[in-house]
Symmetry: D2
Subunit: 388 residues, 4 copies
């Protein structure tokens, strides 16, 4: 079996973007609960993201959401972030919170609204120039609620046109990353419901377009690690939105609902060349915590990814392959499980300490007084949330 010492060097490469919207209030359609200490400004969101990085060393970038994070001077925001030790990352567009988009954005039957949605993305591309972001991530809320309501096929054609118009404005290393989602907020049909649809569109666009896999966006029973392996094989896995879910798109802490699934996903990532300095796959969280504290919720999340990456790196791939070649079902399964069941937490604590990080980030955060400080300081103003 592989040892922790052998895999430790590979842990240096781990970097997980955290989303600016993770620190605002979020909830369900039934209720959004407010909590003390919630940011009121983009700057406070970035400060929270920087805290996650400070305690873990794992989250060097903050993903932004436009228009939620629109500021007049993105160059200044970039300096602000850098001063706190983080960079601005992926730009996420939003065509689901304007009344005009009731029946879609990039797929809309009305050319005026469709153009408005395209223009919003062009604005995002401009922001990318100012922030130095590489990726424009597009998630569509487009779809319909009733059979007959919409022209499913025509919407695909319009989507292809819209994406083409946006893609044409990218320059240099910039990438368009298209996210798919099984359902919600549309119930009957979703315009990019599965990886096959996302793939068909990014293949039509070209080399700098790829697919974003959100781990919460699949039908029950879907083998997600298979999709990971397939997209890597096809050279079209652009990024991950990590989170976990029990039933729908619950946006819980990654690894919380099914830790073994996260292990299997990371194993295919590593095995397929999606991890490490030579990979261009971006790792992000996309989580909206409803009842837990936000900053430690994000700390827990990046730690979960790190712990599971360590376990996945521990798989003795040579022995595994030998067992597979022999058709030794139980032997191969056991080699695989051996890594999953190995408790890497003590080794990781030492590894962190050796790098000047807290051995136990959750505990260190709790003892740091940071939470109490922001709860005391952030009084007055309007707490941010989805849409604010």
């Amino acid at each position: 079996m592989t040892t922790f010492a052998e895999i430790a060097p590979q842990l240096e490469h781990q970097a997980i973007e955290v989303p600016s919207w993770a620190y605002g209030n979020s909830g369900t359609r039934f209720k959004v609960f407010g909590t003390p200490g919630t940011p009121r400004t983009v700057e406070e969101k970035i400060a929270d993201a920087a805290a996650v990085h400070r305690f873990t060393g794992l989250a060097p970038k903050v993903a932004l959401h436009i228009p939620w994070d629109l500021v007049e001077d993105f160059a200044a925001l970039r300096v602000y972030a850098n001063d706190l030790g983080v960079e601005l990352g992926t730009i996420n567009s939003n065509t689901f919170q304007d009344d005009d988009y009731k029946f879609g954005g990039l797929t809309h039957h009305d050319p005026t609204i469709r153009q408005k949605a395209i223009d919003h993305h062009l604005e995002c591309v401009e922001v990318m120039g100012a922030t130095g972001s590489r990726d424009l991530k597009i998630w569509l809320a487009d779809g319909s609620n009733y059979p007959g309501q919409a022209d499913i096929r025509g919407r695909q054609d319009r989507l292809a046109d819209s994406l083409q118009a946006i893609y044409a404005q990218l320059s240099g290393d910039q990438r368009l990353v298209l996210e798919y989602k099984f359902f919600e907020p549309a119930f009957y049909h979703t315009d990019v419901p599965d990886w096959g649809t996302a793939l068909a569109h990014v293949q039509a666009l070209g080399e700098n377009a790829s697919v974003c896999l959100d781990t919460g966006h699949h039908a029950p029973g879907t083998n997600i690690e298979f999709i990971v392996a397939q997209l890597l094989r096809l050279g079209k896995l652009g990024s991950f939105d990590f989170n976990s879910r029990f039933y729908a798109d619950d946006d819980l802490i990654v690894g919380a609902a099914d830790p073994f699934q996260l292990f299997r996903i990371l194993f295919e990532v590593i095995r397929g060349g999606g991890y490490g300095p030579d990979s261009e796959v971006a790792f992000m969280l996309d989580q909206c915590h409803n009842v837990e504290k936000k900053i430690p919720g994000q700390i827990r999340s990046v730690l979960n990814v790190q712990e599971m990456t360590a376990r996945a790196l521990l798989v003795d791939r040579e022995s595994l392959e030998a067992a597979q070649q022999e058709g030794d079902v139980l032997g191969a399964h056991e080699i695989f499980m051996d890594a999953f069941y190995t408790d890497v937490r003590a080794d990781l604590a030492s590894w962190r300490e050796a790098r000047g990080l807290p051995a136990h980030p959750m505990q260190a955060y709790a003892e740091s007084g940071h939470q109490e400080t922001i709860e005391a300081e952030r009084v007055g103003g309007t707490q941010v949330g989805w849409g604010a």
Copy 2:
């Protein structure tokens, strides 16, 4: 085959409660779209419900939601409703929109908050006295998002105690109806997730407690008509919340996602004695429409129930039973499908006309100018929605 004329008399018994909250704005966690003409007051909601009844003859009662529909003078509200031709119906409690209920209400670990939730229900019972409502319907948002977060078992015991305290305050014909829901807003565990749990609790309470079956609250693949048959058999089916869903609890127009399922459900209702003057099963809609107009959305919904009831009544049950007894799979299935495939719409149009109702309620509503009137009149004020 049974004819429409033979079943027509049974259509007289149909009455479907419409919810007051169907007319306010609703949406998903991503966005609530506003629409012109949305009610600003409880009275305007009741007026909308009355319009549904006026055009269909099917919706003589309005279900209320407390505190959304709290008024100072329920007696006056009752007169107001009666003047518009409708009655006040089921009272629905709400323990999910107050910050105190973040970790539950009737199941809460803190006795103070649990008592607050109980007291809210006692207030609902008082309202029932004033409105003349028979049923107190309890749907719990209680649950947890993470394994370990909550004491699943202890919460059941507390729930049993809380329900007992509420049940003890009912008088006369008043009933407690407990609704179950598979998931949402809690993601990991829900305190009343299935009909078995609801049954266990209402059995412990007594004769005037029963189960509410919401057609959208089940795991994928669940045979809902089986549950209908079982609850009727056990004498514990109290009411229906009708709606439809493709994946989660979409709250779409009943019958829209799977008309054949609605047919099968209504067949078991009729066959099990749940329909007609001798039945105490209450039929309600529980729908929240996001992108369609509210009043015609409700008209379409009650018509769907009526059309499908007519089809279910058309099943030639004698022939069906004979085929079943012979093990004639295809014959029995065909007798069943024959009723489903029969187009009852023209017969129903005539039947309506004979009763002084519009033959085509959807068209009549569109041509009535009612929608234009409320859109013009309801300007200013705050549109109601979930939580308002």
Copy 3:
């Protein structure tokens, strides 16, 4: 609204291949029930298929399964079929009933077994020459039961190679049609689990390769008509395997579990150019009936497709498009549902009679004495079933 008379001419184009294996005994892993009259030979299977066509005019072709339907002289079998009024259709390969295929066929890690699987397909291509079949349909049972058991990624590469070797042997108009399936018989991972994977492989092969969509092979909640529309848009929908399911791959009578879904699928087929004389999409049944009589089960199935095709043709597409353009959700949905709810059965009965077919094929079959004849005649010998 469109009338039956207007759409009647389009009904002439309908042709649905029936599978030879539909007439043998089949069942579940728990039990296969035998029934009197079950065929003992390929010829008797074809005779049963011919009976379906004789009573319906809808099933002019029989799909064969190799090696189940291997005969020495396929030219003679072709003549035999033609004499009974039907043609031999799609050739289906089988790499799941030989001990060598325990860990896969076209994906196997052992080159010897992989070559054996390729050779089996080359034999199928030879059969196609003799039978005049256009399509080679490949469904793989390949996959694994345990995480770690197999090299998911390597199997994709081997599959691509194997398919290339087979594709290279096609000639003229011959096509390779690749079927995907969500799960079963493998439980953890399936090598072609979704349309995206099938698409990636057939795109790599070339113009004469396309995807087979089996309506029972999806995760719960999947919008199948969306996939139909997408594959037609991409020019890669090769064929349908029709059946229906409640939960897994139940292989029930098409349209039995969710008639409205079949309607929506056929609407997208028609709208996307997949129906009619200019389309190359092949329509097949893939059903294995366990408890009902086989021949009338197939008759019921092709009638279901016909009835639902008629309804889908009835959709007033001009009005529908207008309502969609206006964002009239309820109006568009109603136009769509209007066609679904129209009872076409009487019109179809007349239409059949005008063509010399029985007005009521199910009844005509029951009264024909055919079932009694085969039950009396087919005594002795071994009834065919899966694998025989």
Copy 4:
């Protein structure tokens, strides 16, 4: 945190019945693969079960399936088993492999067949007398494939009568344990599809009737540990059938598909009083392995239960309860996960050695030569499988 030493004494109580049918050939409806060394007789099955116990100390009982395991002299079989160090356990009835049961057994519309099914169970009760078994476990394959095929409601009433007739024949400590299953082999409706139905029936029977929970028999997304907690609370959890599944009832090695779910289930078992010397909950495997070797597959399975039981015992319940009371979501979750992530394997190896058991049972079995011996010896005769 609790230590292994503290929980070690509780591990002594663990006993898991293994099923006699686990050692025969099994498969899917597509194919049953044969393997060398498969038992040909009941005695050889028991010998295999005894091997599992010899290597693990965890499997002191063998569950039998009637009529698969019918012998003339059960007293002799009991002695045979005892001599090998195991006892005969639960008796499982079978009403799904006789042609008469095509449309059901205990629910059948034909009184003759229904009586035959009842009589079969009475025969099982007689066997229990001879074997000294406590439990009669009843799993019904009864159901229907098509809407309309069967009288769902009437079948419930007949089932209640049949169970009553069987229950009346139990004596002393004998128990009737009723198993539920979501679907398969029936597809449209299953007569005991959920725990609510099983509960309703066993409540009607009396104190010696309880529910069997098979971990693979639920709809996707079902929270199984909730059901465990609820049944324990209601005093009606009779036994477990352990296995795991990814989608349907895959009958894989318990804990293989979702180890964390097994942990959560065992935590609720322990917390609810279902584990230990005072509990009457029976733990069984119900697995049918298709591609792996049978004996080591069972060894792996009982070890998985043991390892996960150890982890569940390690949960620091006092701290957990304190965190829950404080509404500390992340804290409570972390306490819970801490136990799950603890690697207990080395401690368990020492614990086994101290009891004269092999430290590493899988390895010990592989090195023992037992597999090679049975493969060499068991030549000729007919291998047993489902139904043999």
